[in-house]
C-alpha cells in the first residue's frame, strides 16, 4: 500500500509500524508449518538443523524417514492410514447426507423453532471434544460399539455434521427458490427437482461441507483416543503416541505429508468458494 505524497511523517511512521506488525503476525501464523518440511528430509536422527543442512550440503538431506514411514519394520502407519481413510470416508458420506438434508429443512421458511434446532444441531462443534468424547464413550461401551470402526464412524458423523449444516445453509441463503417452483410448474416431482436443479446449484456448499467433515474426521484425536482399540488406530492417534514419547524424524515426514494434503484441500475449498460466490452472484 503506497501512501500519498502529502502524508505527514507521524502517520507515515504509524503506517509502517502497522505493516511490520502485520508482517510479524503472518509470519507467526505460517512459519511454524514450514519448520517441519526441511526437518523431514534430515539425514540425522535428531530434530534440529544440522550444520550440513544449513550449508545446503546434499549429504545433509535424505529420504530415509519417508522410507521408514512406508517400509519401517514396526510400521504402524500403513494400518493407521487405511483406518483413517476408511473411517473418514464413511463419516464424510454420513455427515454430508444427514447434514445436507437437515440444512434443506432448516432453510425452509416454514421450519418451526428454527433457531433452537440450529443451536442443537451445531452444538457438537461447540461442546469441548473431551466432553463429547467422554459421553460418546459411555454410550458406545453400553451398546457394544467401543473399539469398533462403526462406533468411531458414528461419532465422527456427529462431529462432522455441524460443518455441513453451516456451509449448506449458507449456500442456500442465496438460493433463488423461484427456480424450484419453475421446475414444479413444469411438472417435475420434488425428488427430481432436488436432484436436477437444487443439488447442482448448492453443490459447492455441499462439497466444502464434505471437505470440512472429512478433515474433522481425519484429524480427530480425542474421541478416537477414548474409543479406539489397537485395531482401530488412526494417523492422529499414532502421531499422538509418537509425540508423547519423543519427537522423531518419521513423525516429521508424516506431518509433511499431512501438510501437503491440507494444502490440496485448501486449494479445492477456495476454488469451490469462489465458484459458489459466482453462482450466487448470477442468481441475484
Amino acid at each position: 500500500m503506497a501512501l500519498p505524497n502529502h502524508t505527514p511523517l507521524n502517520y507515515r511512521i504509524w503506517h509502517y509500524v502497522y505493516l511490520t506488525f502485520c508482517g510479524f503476525v503472518f509470519f507467526f501464523l505460517i512459519a511454524p508449518l514450514f519448520v517441519i518440511l526441511p526437518l523431514s528430509f534430515n539425514a540425522e536422527q535428531y530434530i534440529h538443523f544440522s550444520a550440513k543442512m544449513l550449508a545446503l550440503d546434499p549429504e545433509g538431506f535424505s529420504l530415509r524417514w519417508y522410507e521408514d514411514m512406508i517400509y519401517g519394520t514396526k510400521n504402524p502407519w500403513g494400518l493407521a492410514t487405511k483406518n483413517s481413510l476408511f473411517i473418514a470416508f464413511f463419516a464424510t458420506i454420513g455427515s454430508t447426507i444427514l447434514g445436507t438434508v437437515a440444512a434443506l429443512g432448516l432453510s425452509s421458511r416454514h421450519m418451526p423453532y428454527k433457531a433452537a434446532f440450529m443451536a442443537l444441531l451445531i452444538s457438537p462443534m461447540i461442546v469441548p471434544l473431551i466432553i463429547s468424547g467422554t459421553a460418546i464413550f459411555f454410550f458406545m461401551a453400553k451398546v457394544g460399539l467401543a473399539a469398533t470402526h462403526t462406533g468411531i464412524i458414528l461419532s465422527h458423523i456427529i462431529l462432522g455434521t455441524p460443518f455441513v449444516v453451516i456451509t449448506v445453509t449458507a449456500t442456500l441463503s442465496g438460493f433463488d427458490h423461484s427456480v424450484t417452483r419453475a421446475a414444479a410448474s413444469l411438472g417435475s416431482n420434488p425428488v427430481n427437482t432436488f436432484m436436477k436443479i437444487t443439488l447442482p446449484l448448492i453443490m459447492p456448499g455441499v462439497i466444502s461441507g464434505a471437505l470440512f467433515a472429512f478433515v474433522t474426521s481425519f484429524d480427530e484425536v480425542v474421541v478416537v483416543l477414548f474409543l479406539a482399540g489397537l485395531e482401530n488406530t488412526t494417523i492422529p492417534i499414532q502421531m499422538w503416541v509418537g509425540l508423547r514419547e519423543q519427537l522423531s524424524p518419521t513423525i516429521m515426514a508424516v506431518a509433511t505429508c499431512l501438510i501437503v494434503m491440507s494444502t490440496l484441500i485448501l486449494v479445492t475449498a477456495e476454488l469451490l468458494r469462489r465458484r459458489s460466490e459466482r453462482l450466487r452472484g448470477i442468481n441475484r
Binding site: 500500500m1 502497522y18 506488525f21 502485520c22 503476525v25 503472518f26 507467526f28 501464523l29 505460517i30 511454524p32 508449518l33 519448520v35 517441519i36 526437518l39 534440529h48 538443523f49 444427514l98 447434514g99 438434508v101 437437515a102 429443512g105 416454514h110 418451526p112 443451536a119 442443537l120 444441531l121 451445531i122 457438537p124 469441548p128 471434544l129 473431551i130 466432553i131 468424547g133 467422554t134 459421553a135 460418546i136 464413550f137 459411555f138 453400553k142 456427529i158 449444516v165 453451516i166 456451509t167 466444502s208 470440512f212 478433515v215 484429524d219 484425536v221 480425542v222 483416543l225 492422529p236 502421531m239 509425540l243 519427537l247 516429521m252 506431518a255 501438510i259 491440507s262 485448501l266 477456495e270
Partner: protein, 415 residues
C-alpha cells in the same frame, strides 16, 4: 354484512387450502430435519444426559450391600448399632465374598473414609471363621474399627442413591463426618488451581488472539483482492492443517535445542548451557494455543470488516477527524460484532482444549480437560470425570447461549 368467501378452483375456501399447504410445507421441513435431529438426540444428547446421571449416581454400593442399608437406616448414629446391623453386614459380605465382587465396595468406602480398605479386606478374609450368633462381638474381634462409631457413620453416609460429592470434590470441597461442607485439606486443593488456570489461559489466549488478529484482519479487508487472497492463505492453511501437525511444529520450535532457543542464545539473552524452558510449562501452552486459535479470531473479524465501507473513514477525515479519532469513533464501533463473535469463539474453544496443553503444557500447563482425560483413562474415576465434564459443559453452554444471543449461531462463517 358477511364477506364473500373466495373459493379455489376445487371449491374449497382459499383460506383453508392455503392453511393446508402451509401445514404440508411445515411438515416437509420438519421431516427433513428429523433424521439428523434423531441421530444427534440418540448418539449425542442422551449420552451427555447419561454422563450427567453418572456424575451423581451412587447406587452401586447400595445395591451391593442391600441388607446392611435396610438395617442401618434405623440407626441414629449415636451409640454403636445393634446386632441386627452386624448380622445384615455379615450376610452381605458373605455373598460378596462368594461372588468375589467386594473389590468395588472397597474403593467406594475407602473414598468415603480412609482405612476401610484394610478393614474390609481383613474382615472378608476372616469371614469363614465366623460362627452363627452375636456377630457384633465377632466383627469387633476381627477388627477394632468395627467398634468405632466413625466407620459405621461413614458406612451409613454412603446410603443415599444420589450424591453431589463429586461436584464438591471438583471445587476442592468435601463433606465432613457431620455432613458439613468444608474445604479439602491444603495439600489436596488442586482443582481450584486448575479451574483458575484454565480460565486464565483461555482469557489471555483470547486477548492475545484479538491483539494479533485485529490489525491483520483490517489489512486483509482493505487490501486489493489479489493481494489479500494471497495473504488469506497464511490464515487458511494453518486452519486446514491437522492440529497435531501444528502442535508438533511448536514442539520442534520450543524444544531446548530448538530454533527459538538457538536465537535467544545467539542474541545473548541466555547462556548456551542455561537455555530457558519454553516447553512443558504454561509458556508453551500460551504460545501454541494462540497460534492455533488465531484463524478463529481472524475469520469473523475479517467478514465484519469486509462489510465496512472505506468511504466512512474518508467521511470522518473530511469532517476534520484525525485518523485516530475517526478510527475510535467510526471504525472500531462498527467492528464490535466481529470482535464479540471472534472472542467468544476463541474463548469457548480454548477453555476445552486438550491435545495442545497435553503435549506442550507439561504439568504446570495442563488444563481441566487434561484432568478429565486423566480420570477417564488412568484413575478410572468415571463419575468424577463426568462431574468435571458437566461443570465445564455448563460453563461452555452459558457462553454458547450468550454467543447465540449476540451473534446468532447461523452467522458462523467458515473459511
Amino acid at each position: 354484512m358477511s364477506k364473500e368467501q373466495i373459493l379455489s378452483s376445487d371449491g374449497i375456501p382459499l383460506e383453508q387450502s392455503l392453511k393446508k399447504a402451509e401445514r404440508k410445507n411445515k411438515l416437509k421441513a420438519v421431516l427433513l430435519v428429523a433424521p439428523l435431529f434423531l441421530f444427534i438426540l440418540i448418539i449425542y444428547v442422551f449420552p451427555i444426559g447419561d454422563m450427567l446421571f453418572r456424575s451423581v449416581d451412587d447406587r452401586m454400593i447400595t445395591k451391593m450391600l442391600p441388607k446392611t442399608y435396610t438395617a442401618i437406616e434405623k440407626w441414629d448414629g449415636k451409640d454403636l448399632p445393634d446386632e441386627q446391623v452386624y448380622e445384615a453386614l455379615y450376610q452381605d459380605l458373605a455373598y460378596l465374598k462368594e461372588t468375589k465382587t467386594y473389590g468395588k465396595i472397597i474403593a467406594r468406602l475407602n473414598y468415603e473414609k480412609g482405612g476401610f480398605s484394610s478393614l474390609i479386606k481383613k474382615t472378608v478374609r476372616k469371614l469363614g471363621k465366623f460362627e452363627e450368633g452375636d456377630y457384633k462381638t465377632q466383627f469387633i474381634k476381627v477388627h477394632k474399627r468395627w467398634g468405632q462409631n466413625d466407620y459405621l457413620v461413614a458406612l451409613k453416609n454412603t446410603a443415599p442413591n444420589w450424591t453431589y460429592a463429586k461436584y464438591l470434590k471438583g471445587v476442592d470441597l468435601k463433606k465432613d463426618k457431620d455432613g458439613n461442607i468444608v474445604q479439602q485439606p491444603e495439600d489436596r486443593r488442586i482443582h481450584k488451581i486448575l479451574w483458575m488456570r484454565t480460565l486464565n489461559v483461555a482469557f489471555w489466549v483470547t486477548i492475545f488472539c484479538f491483539i494479533l488478529a485485529y490489525p491483520i484482519s483490517h489489512l486483509l479487508a482493505t487490501l486489493p483482492m489479489k493481494y489479500s487472497n494471497l495473504l488469506m492463505i497464511c490464515v487458511l492453511l494453518p486452519f486446514w492443517t491437522s492440529l497435531l501437525v501444528r502442535t508438533s511444529s511448536w514442539m520442534v520450535l520450543l524444544q531446548q535445542q530448538g530454533p527459538i532457543n538457538d536465537l535467544i542464545v545467539w542474541i545473548g539473552l541466555a547462556a548456551d548451557d542455561n537455555r530457558p524452558e519454553l516447553m512443558y510449562n504454561v509458556i508453551g501452552t500460551f504460545v501454541a494455543m494462540t497460534q492455533i486459535l488465531l484463524p478463529f479470531m481472524v475469520l469473523p473479524l475479517y467478514s465484519v470488516m469486509k462489510t465496512i465501507s472505506p468511504s466512512l473513514m474518508r467521511a470522518g477525515k473530511s469532517l476534520g477527524g484525525t485518523p485516530l479519532v475517526s478510527f475510535v469513533k467510526i471504525y472500531f464501533p462498527l467492528t464490535i460484532p466481529g470482535i464479540g463473535a471472534g472472542c467468544l469463539l476463541v474463548f469457548i474453544l480454548a477453555i476445552g482444549y486438550y491435545i495442545t496443553p497435553a503435549l506442550v503444557g507439561g504439568a504446570s500447563g495442563s488444563l481441566i480437560s487434561n484432568t478429565i482425560a486423566y480420570h477417564m483413562k488412568s484413575s478410572l474415576d468415571w463419575a468424577f470425570a463426568s462431574a468435571l465434564g458437566t461443570m465445564l459443559l455448563v460453563g461452555v453452554l452459558a457462553i454458547y447461549w450468550i454467543y447465540n444471543k449476540l451473534v446468532g449461531i447461523d452467522n458462523i462463517k467458515l473459511g
